[in-house]
Symmetry: C2
Subunit: 409 residues, 2 copies
């Protein structure tokens, strides 16, 4: 039991700065004692965010090893580029400091095993900070599934459908890691929205597990066309080849027989969507139309009355709002991304202060991040099916976890 | 050139009877001279449909060979169970009689080759009567794509999302072929809605082709649960095992680099949808929300204004309605499935009477129907990628066709 964490934070691109300002500094359970970025300007910006809020200035580091070694730091949050997430998380665990890591994908299966083995050897906790696990409609659906309203679940789909062409192509000046990834890799590079909520709903690593996947990438046309037509874009990129396909479709099979379809969709024009869809023997939820379709509430004529259900999920909130969101709405929703950042960081800090297990643990993190490198393998080999390792070594069949009900997914 | 076809029609389950009554009998370019079904009651029902409309009674046959051999018959339409489509079509071509075949999937690749080789040897035309190719919004989108409004197309998706649990489980009494297929097979058993319109839009067999696919099936829970909970259902089916997974996801890669995601979704509760979606470098169409999202018509703020676009495709009809539908609306929309049956059968009869090529030809038919047996192979082998044969033997790269512009897709 502790009242607050003494936080060291590493990586201050846009996400790191936003989280620091809106989610961590305002929280009285957090004392920011050290900030770090390889770019000095960013480290100083982070320091300013803390002092501008009237809090004591944190130490500024350019080398992450100094944050982890700092005896004043008891907890670390990593918001660096994707490539460093696992290495840094492991170094924190080696130092005995619980660590929270922003979302991303893995570059090798060996790295995922390293993550798990380091946790098992050190006993230090590690959490991937997947905010979408706390999405309001994801949790509404989860709650309805737990009540049995959708029957047996047989299929889920979701994705990261977000037009990032501006962020990626402007990225060179902006030192954004996405650009180098899109130029060189071809994979489901950002799987955890919406795999996180789906995995929790299907009991992945807790009675179920992901067994295999195939992954297929479309050609890459979106970024090239965007750069060609956009005056502000860096035209030198027109001489480069983007390896990353515009749409990557990954189909996952689970031990329980369920299928999951994940879509990466970030380089074509579109409105934002996570496309969360859950299909059961008694009903469905579909994010595209924000609709619930329950057998018990519908008749044959509803099957072809195809606009009638649009937006009706809001009505189901009255009776089936998830307890996490019921409490949250009463307490008042705070911060970015419709309030879900506040919840996931709250879950992280609460578990450290009150000695709970993380609601999203190192096995979840390894399994979810592994999808990236496995999809890369599948695409490279003509969409061949690849096995998904069981990072729990059989523990998934029966798990005992001590999770604070306030944050349990 | 001929004024009317002398039609023999084989197979009078629900679909055959509906097409006869609503689409063929009312048409003055059709003289129904023979009807056939292995069940005598159905053959007689078909005859009654014709005479009830005040037309001369057609001959009644129980053996399809007699229809094909009948010298009064110059054209055949096949609306039998899936298993017989290709064999019957080939026998018609051997007899020199143009043939139209209702939609379904193939049971072997060899059968698809037989279809193509029989056509090439006999020169007799064969068309798969895929009504969804003439869907209003499919054609709206196709028209916008042809005008370049969506940019380069990189990805499409669609499916057959139709709760058929009643039809399948009631099917035993009803002699419906779906039941035996769902009990015994596991595949994308009904691919042509929505593959047909997507294939036409992507120029499959006309400058493009489908190269490979993977297919993954969820477990089969929907029919079992439906039978268990439904009083009217045949409870003896609870002792059987349904092989057909509830949701089958098939991912197709095209020579042009495009991907197509097809979904079979027929045994879980849901509203009807064909989920037609087209993604290009400059815009998209999405059937789920019946929306068009064009880069030129949107700004950054529209990306998160996620309900704003729902239903806006109707506005785009004003300027971009496909010429086929513009004419059709002026002439007056007729018959089933929102009028698309009338159009596809019209295209078939018109090409025979006026000596045009079919807008959907035997190569399309082979390629589309092959998806069923290839998906069966992929699922049986753990979602392995399988190559899709080039049934045109290279002709797809450059095709010359003489299609009536009135029906050209």
């Amino acid at each position: 039991m502790k009242e607050k964490i003494k936080l060291g934070m590493i990586g201050f691109g846009g996400r790191g700065r936003g989280i620091l300002k809106d989610i961590l500094v305002p929280r009285d359970t957090v004392e920011v004692v050290a900030v770090c970025d390889v770019y000095e300007d960013r480290a100083k910006q982070a320091c300013d965010i803390v002092t501008d809020a009237g809090k004591p200035a944190p130490k500024i580091y350019l080398d992450y090893k100094e944050v982890i070694a700092d005896e004043d730091v008891d907890t670390v949050i990593i918001t660096t580029s994707w490539e460093n997430h696992i290495n840094l998380a492991c170094e924190c665990m080696e130092a005995g400091k619980p660590v929270g890591v922003e979302v991303g994908g893995a570059y090798s299966i060996d790295d995922c095993w390293k993550l798990v083995r380091t946790y098992e050897r050190t006993g230090t906790k590690c959490m991937i900070l997947e905010n979408c696990c706390y999405g309001r409609y994801e949790l509404l659906t989860t709650n309805m599934v737990r009540k049995g309203l959708l029957g047996k679940i047989v299929h889920c789909s979701g994705g990261y459908c977000h037009d990032l062409r501006d962020e990626i192509t402007f990225g060179r000046e902006n030192r954004h890691y996405r650009l180098r990834n899109y130029l060189n890799r071809n994979c489901e590079n950002y799987p955890t929205h919406e795999l996180g909520p789906i995995a929790k709903l299907l009991g992945i690593n807790d009675g179920n597990r992901m067994v295999s996947l195939t992954s297929t990438a479309s050609k890459a046309e979106g970024l090239y066309d965007y750069i060609a037509q956009n005056e502000k874009a860096d035209k030198s990129l027109l001489d480069r080849t983007f390896n990353q396909g515009d749409i990557v479709t990954t189909v996952i099979k689970c031990a329980g027989g369920e299928t999951i379809v994940l879509t990466l969709d970030t380089t074509l024009p579109r409105f934002y969507s996570r496309g969360f869809t859950v299909r059961g023997t008694r009903g469905m939820y579909e994010e595209a139309t924000n609709s619930v379709f329950l057998e018990r509430d519908t008749t044959e004529s509803d099957h072809f009355n195809w606009k009638a259900h649009w937006g009706n999920a809001e009505e189901y909130l009255k009776e089936h709002e998830h307890p996490i969101w019921k409490d949250y709405l009463e307490e008042g929703v705070i911060g970015g991304h419709d309030g879900i950042d506040w919840l996931v960081y709250g879950a992280f800090i609460d578990a450290i202060c009150n000695d709970y297990d993380f609601p999203i643990d190192v096995y979840d993190m390894a399994a979810w991040m592994a999808i990236t490198t496995l999809s890369e393998e599948s695409i490279a080999c003509g969409s061949k099916p690849v096995a998904i390792p069981d990072f729990t070594n059989g523990m998934w069949i029966e798990r005992n976890k001590n999770i604070n009900p306030k944050y349990a997914l």
